[in-house]
Each structure stands twice: as C-alpha cells, then as structure tokens.
Symmetry: C2
Subunit: 386 residues, 2 copies
Amino acid sequence: MDYSTLFSDDVASFMPSPAREIFKKVDLNSIYSLAGGYPDSATFPTDILKDLFSRVMDKYGAKALQYGGTQGVPELRKAVAERYSVNEENVLISTSSQQGIDVSARILLNPGDVVLTVDPTYLGALQSFKSYRAEIVSVQGLKDGMTGVDESILKRAKLFYIISDFQNPSGKTLSLEERMDLIGLSKKYGFLILEDGPYRELRYSGQTLPTIYSLAPERTIHLGSFSKIFAPGLRLGWILAPQEVLHQIYVCKQALDLCPPILNQYMAAEFLESGELDRNLEKSIALYRDKRDFMLSLLEKYMPQGVSWTRPEGGLFLFLTLPQELDCVQMYDKALDAGVAYVAGSFFYADGSHRNTMRLNFSFMNKPRMEQGVKILSEVIRSYLG
Amino acid sequence: MDYSTLFSDDVASFMPSPAREIFKKVDLNSIYSLAGGYPDSATFPTDILKDLFSRVMDKYGAKALQYGGTQGVPELRKAVAERYSVNEENVLISTSSQQGIDVSARILLNPGDVVLTVDPTYLGALQSFKSYRAEIVSVQGLKDGMTGVDESILKRAKLFYIISDFQNPSGKTLSLEERMDLIGLSKKYGFLILEDGPYRELRYSGQTLPTIYSLAPERTIHLGSFSKIFAPGLRLGWILAPQEVLHQIYVCKQALDLCPPILNQYMAAEFLESGELDRNLEKSIALYRDKRDFMLSLLEKYMPQGVSWTRPEGGLFLFLTLPQELDCVQMYDKALDAGVAYVAGSFFYADGSHRNTMRLNFSFMNKPRMEQGVKILSEVIRSYLG
C-alpha cells in the first residue's frame, strides 16, 4: 500500500534528530560518547527514590494513579510557583519541556510564519518549528539590534526562541544587556519570546542573571525542566506564560495527552517540598563543575592548534570550532570507528552551515572515559589536519 | 498586550473538553459523578505497587531515570508485541493513547481533509481532529455501506476513526460483519482506519472479536492504553501501525516529547511480564461486570418511561436517550445543583445534535453512591417531564 499520498503536508518538513539516530545505532556504553545531552546518572537521587516513592503512595494513594487536571496537580504547580516567585495561575506542568516547545509552536505558528533564533541553537526546537513549516531566521547578535535581518522579516516574526543560560549547543549565556535588548525588540516588532531554561539551575561559575520571563512576563513563555534537576526519565517540565497564552496552551494540551503523568508529578512535588531537590542539586553542581573544568583541561592538553572552544558557566555542553577546511559531518564515521561520538555543529544551524564545528557534552561520562574520548577525538582531528 | 493576532489559525478550532471543564469546577468527591471516564481506583494495584517499584529500581537502577528511545523501552515494546501477537517493529509506546490520536492526526491531516467517524464518538478525538481543522463527517451505519455520505466526501477521506469495542460514549461494539465492511470501504476509498481500543480488555459478557488491526494490519493504526488495565496516572499507551506509518509517527514524536516516561514504562513492563497485570485484570473485570449489571438494574428501577439506554458488553459507559423534547445541555445545571453530574450526549456528536442524550459512567463510583446518583438523576429528568 502506498501511504505517501495520505500523509499531511507537515510530514515533508519532519526532520529526524541526528543525535537521536546515533543512539538508535550505537550502544552508549560501548563507545566514548561526547554526543547526547544525558545527565550523569550519579546525579539521580536513586538512593532516596524508594523512600520518596513510599512517601508519595502513603500521602496520595490511589490519587497518584488516577487521571488529573490538564494544568498539572495543584501541589506541583504550587511548588514551582513558590520556587520561581510566580503566580500559580501562570504555571502549567508539561510532559517534558520538549512538549513546551511543541505546544508553543502549535498555538502560534502557521506555515510560513517567521521564528527568530540565534545561530546555532537547540536541534529539538528547530525540529519542532520546521515541522510546523515555519521559516526559521537566525540573527547574528542581539547587542547591535539583530544586524543582518531584514526589517520586513522582523515584522513577520511571531516568536524568538532563545536558551538564555548555558545554551545548547554553544554553552553561551546572554548578558543582562542582551536580555534587555531582546525584550526591546520584542516590544518594537510585536513577537513573543520563547525562553527555554532547561539548564538554568546548573550554574558552576559567574553571576546568576534574571530570566527574560521575570523581566518581561507579558512578552515571554518560559520553559522549565525537571530533567536536569531531578530525572529525565520522569518527563516533566513546566511552562510559565501570560494567562491568555497559557489558556490556549491548556486547551491544546487537553487534546495532546489530557494531563502529565500524575505519579511523576507527585514525586517531583515531594522532592521539591522536602528540600531534597536542593540538597541533590548542590551535589550535582559540584560534580558538573568539576567535570566542566576537567573537560576544559583535557581540551587544552590534547587538542591541536587551530581548534577553539567555548567556556560555559553552566549547563552540559561546550562548542568546538575546528579549522575552516575540516568537515565534522564527514569526520563523524571515522570518529565512531575510532570509538568516540559527538554531534556535528552544523545540525544546530538552521541552514546546516558551519560544518567545521561540533558540540561536546561533559556531563555524561566519568572522568577517565572523558579523557579517553577527548584523546581519541583529538587524534581523529589531527589525522585530518594532515 | 493583545495576543490574538499572534495565535495560529488552528487555535480558533480548539475546543475545550466540556467533561474536563466540569472537573475543573467541581470536586468529584463532593457530587455523585456519572460524568468522566475515571476507572474505579479499587482496580489500581496499589497493594503491590511499592514492591513493583522496588523491583524496577533493583533491576534497572539509574536507567529507569535516564532518557530513552523515542519508540519506547525494548522491554515494554516486547511485552506488548507478545501480548497482542504483533511484531516489535510495529509497536511504538505512546505517552497516553490520547497522544496516539493526536500524532496520527498530525501526520495525516491537512486543514479541510475529511475524517470519517460514527455518531456519537469520543470527544477527545473530535477535539484533536477539529484542532487540525479537519472536516468531520459522521456515517449513519457501517452495515449498509455508510448510507447518507456523499461519494465525493468518501473519496476525500484520509481516516476513519472508530472505537471498535464498547465505544465511548455509546457502549456499542462493532460486529465482525461491520469490521469487515469497514475494511472493505477502506480498500475501496483508500482511507486508513484509526482503531482506538482503550477498553478492549474490559469485556464483561459476549464473545471477543478480532481487532480491525489484526484483520487488516496494512490499513489500520491501532491505539492501546494502559489507563484501564494498569493506571491512567502513568500516561502510557501503545500504537500498532504499518512500519512506514509508524516511522512518521516516530519522527513526529521526537519533536513532541522525545520519549515516553521511562520509569513508568519499566513499571508497566514489569507489571505485564510478572503476570500481575492479568491477575489484576481478572479482578477488575469481575468488579466492573457487577457494577454494569447494578447500573442496568438501577436504570430499570428508577428511570421514567420514555428513557432508553444501551447495554454494553464491556467498557465504562452506557448511553441514555431521553424523550425528544428534553435538553440534557440545559438540564445540566439543575442536575449539578441536585448533586449529580453526567456528560451531555450532544458533546459527542460532531454537529452538537442529539441534545436529548447523555453518557453515564458506571466505573467510578461505588454502588451506594451510584444508586444515589441514578436516583437523583431520574428525579431531575422526571421534573422536566412535567
């Protein structure tokens, strides 16, 4: 049977994630993986989890297994609202912050609408915007009022997608000035800001800056995630948005999945309320800070001249720029044969350019494996430098 | 700020679920609720859940908290494939069967495309199809080759949505002949069948019939759900589909939520593999059979002449038809004031007709409360019969 004539027009714009495709082919434990964005499983609170689960069952019983409201259980909405000093009415619990991207795109984008973003940016967001057939336009810099983008395009923009802290893939953080500039542009051109904050609480150095949402709550949808501060396997995030926008997200989400997983929400609420989240986060930050510093020292030690990288103040990634003539997409198979995986940087560019870049993750592997991975990778790069 | 100019064209077609709106306003425990489709919480395996959770953590450890594949964890895909005698390659785990509806609609429907269904049908499916601006066309009957539908409309149909067993809201089950007729029509006109099977395993009497998927796997997307055989609070379902169709669902789902909750999937796999699901299901069926029979006896006892109802062989619902002059949408506030909730049947009709019908749920309340609810409801109905 030929199904192709049955598929919707959106399907032609679907783009499988190259990162996810890697995980399908390769067992992560059989190679040195600098790809992916997996947290270190040592940060998961496995030691207290059985106890946490027991407390949830004792407290909520069958309620933890029943259907619940689309907006999320009151206990978790309240805990999130308190933690981030927002009103409960502006909080909706999502089934992952990826869903937050999807549902925001769904309520805002028609085919041909413009989504602004910076280059490079999170692949999963590009996938989502492309799947709604939006036109993705990357701006060069926020400081100078988005140079290089035509005024007519800015006027057609519905949304500016940005990871303001420790961006995926670059590791960069927006300065306060850049945040204010972006808000000013949002006011001038009328677009909303979609601020994705999955790594925000993973800061290892430098000063915490206010979220764009806190600076301009009427113009911003903020996405939070429990994946890096609790566990990705629970698939929970939260959405902060103006009430009128959140209402449309709420109605849309009814038809998407009715409600986020209830048991998981109660576990997250208990984890937060008990203070265990903060105690666990402190340990995670110390672990990741050490790993980031170690990764930076490895790059200094092993990488050939001509290779440069970002120095992130938090998050899970840094970004490498290789000499212009090197192609990280082509190099990939050789790297994999040598036993090391990364994600080519060009996948994070809407136009697929910058093939001499790559994203490296420093959260997943332990230090000895990280050293082996960086060492092998540097040898592969050297072999191309001839 | 005026957000209305920013919303996508789809938003105007969003339709909040009247059933879900009820739950927002009313505490289900403060009234006699014959609305909703909540399982009896006595069917949840709460007594073994701590043990089940412990076994999952001992077996999978941190893996249960990490990210996983978009298609679902291998253990659960395998267990589902074995239970329903299908190939693992045709199984994808969904974050609820509602998501199965949404993602099927997403990969198939352009605005204006035709979705065929029967009248009345599941509200959450109507919400989803409408949100993609599909044209929903209800057929009168399958036996006579869908009388009353124009040939030109049938030719434009992409999808036929059907709950083949114990339908929500009517409680009806398709005969084998009707299943075969539907497959024949699918072949003739080229549409796919979206077979929703959330209640399939809850049969209390009569003979099990083959799923449409098993009769025509190349023409059918089948949606299964753990909500009624394990717990809705876990938000897990499965999708069976031809590989080419499942591939598009897989790629789409990457951008929707990356993967279904991992911990929940391992719990479902363990529940299935250990045989606990079957032992629990046997008890649930006995409980629900008794409740269905009790509900039927209550209707006989209390309902005034001129009210008729369906006699389902399974599932959670039956459907009442009141005398033509009664309006169950208008009657609703009075019923709620009297302390009883139902869902007006017209919400399940794409065109909002049949205002003299209502859906009653017999799974949620215990028998004494059910009796009170039916008694009060029958008094409300009598008061309108004058």
